[in-house]
């Protein structure tokens, strides 16, 4: 167990060292729910963001949100508001804040926090139901968050 945790820590440290400009989940600064600074400094890719939003193992945003532009992906949920026109309702910084950790914008919201590492109650290893082998990486990487934000900004 200890060995596994150590290994995990090294992988995490390694990935951070690889992209020095990346802002770590604990270092993200919120202002009224918004996050001004890009997490990576690399422009987001809307096409990649679209994929994250529609994929169950990634963002799985469509489980809870309807998006007309993504009607090719089956079964959109209705737990949260439709994301149509969301790029006009919010600024890029506000959207970044909502994706990183929506609980800063909507108190007690059931929307998951996508760029956070805890603390969690009974965290598990993805969808296996088993205990994790070590510290959990955030649900999305910093670049995936930027990609999702870039896609949402196209929804005017």
């Amino acid at each position: 167990m200890k060995r596994a945790m150590l290994g995990m820590a090294m992988i995490v440290a390694g990935s951070i060292a690889a992209s020095a400009a990346e802002i770590a989940p604990e270092k993200v600064e919120f202002k009224d729910g918004a996050v001004e600074v890009s997490l990576t400094g690399v422009a987001g890719d809307p096409a990649a963001g679209r994929k994250v939003i529609g994929t169950k193992k990634l963002g799985n945003c469509v489980a809870c949100h309807q998006i007309t532009e993504m009607s090719d992906v089956p079964f959109h949920g209705e737990i949260g508001p439709s994301l149509d026109g969301v790029g006009s309702r919010y600024s890029e910084a506000e959207l970044r804040g909502i994706i990183v950790d929506a609980k800063h914008t909507f108190e007690d919201t059931i929307m998951p926090s996508f760029y956070k590492t805890g603390p969690y109650i009974r965290p598990g290893k993805a969808f296996t139901g088993k205990a994790p082998d070590g510290p959990l990486p955030p649900l999305l990487t910093a670049q995936q968050v930027e990609d999702v934000v870039a896609y949402l900004m196209t929804q005017k």
Binding site: K56, C64, G77, D108, P119, R122, T128, G129, A131
Partner: protein, 290 residues
């Protein structure tokens, strides 16, 4: 954030306040009106007004109400309900001698109709001999191991779940009526705390989905209230009878959490609490779900 976790982990009182305080943010959608009449003669209660202090539900609804009319129809006729095949198998098992004592269930309990009427409606229930709240599964295994000299069945296994369905059927149409006071109270409170605790990396509680959003679509499925009065449930998806703890396990896993073990004290507590949220609904198992 930290604050929330602490509340979830340690303070039932604060958790409850938090949960009850969230009423205004709810977006639940009541299901369409429909009556469940089985075999054209047994009318079942699929909606009721719960007693205060148990949950935030204004109305409790049987999960049947949230299913498509096709799935609903399958449950309304015992000839169509595939769960009944397993009940028949369990009846054979009921009469079969097993174990070192040379006994069957029937040796002591007679017919299920005579001895098991009303049992399911009151379970989980405090059992003095075990010194804890027991489920039907625990009672069955207690009889098997301590009274028959037979091997315990797997908690969520096929034989166990089928036997549970046979026993459940004897209470069909009776109102769920689990006791939450007396010796069962601490267990019930633990179950309630579990229900409102946001677990896993997705930080979702049972209430996030089944209390705040029942009637809403989550990806391809319409959320029900997660009631258990219809269990065991035959699922068209996996073609077998499913037990309560197996369903709980799947839901906890879907929050990206470490699950609890079927039959564990935690899941027994959760079962008691969830059952109490449906007090007054008819026992409707074995039900049919997608």
């Amino acid at each position: 954030m930290k604050n929330r976790s602490l509340k979830g982990a340690f303070g039932l009182a604060t958790v409850t306040v938090l949960a009850f305080g969230a009423v205004s943010a709810m977006a639940e959608t009541p299901p369409k009106k429909a009556e469940l009449v089985v075999n054209e003669d047994t009318k079942l209660v699929t909606e009721t007004t719960p007693k205060e202090g148990i949950s935030n539900l204004e109305k409790a609804y049987d999960g049947w109400r949230f299913r498509s009319s096709e799935t609903q129809a399958v449950q309304a006729d015992d000839f169509d309900n595939p769960g009944m095949i397993f009940v028949d198998q369990a009846l054979d098992q009921w009469n079969a001698v097993d174990g070192t004592e040379g006994k069957s269930c029937a040796s002591c309990h007679g017919t299920p109709e005579e001895s098991m009427k009303g049992v399911r409606a009151s379970y989980p229930k405090w059992d003095d001999s075990m010194g804890k709240v027991a489920t039907i599964e625990m009672e069955i295994n207690n009889c098997r191991t301590n009274r028959m000299g037979a091997e315990a069945w797997k908690y969520t296994g096929g034989k166990m779940t089928a036997m549970n369905a046979l026993i459940t059927l004897q209470s069909r149409g009776m109102p769920v009526d689990v006791a939450i006071d007396g010796k069962a109270k601490p267990t019930w409170e633990h179950g309630k705390e579990m229900y409102y605790t946001r677990t896993g990396q997705l930080e979702l509680s049972c209430a996030s989905c089944h209390e705040q959003h029942y009637g809403d679509r989550i990806r391809a499925e319409i959320l029900s209230q997660g009631q258990i009065n219809g269990f065991p449930a035959y699922r068209l998806k996996n073609g077998k009878l499913n037990s309560i703890h197996a369903r709980f396990k799947g839901c906890v896993r879907d929050t990206r959490a470490e699950t609890y073990k079927p039959g564990s004290d935690d899941f027994v507590a959760l079962e008691l609490y969830v059952a109490s949220r449906g007090n007054g609904l008819s026992v409707t198992g074995p039900s049919v779900r997608n």
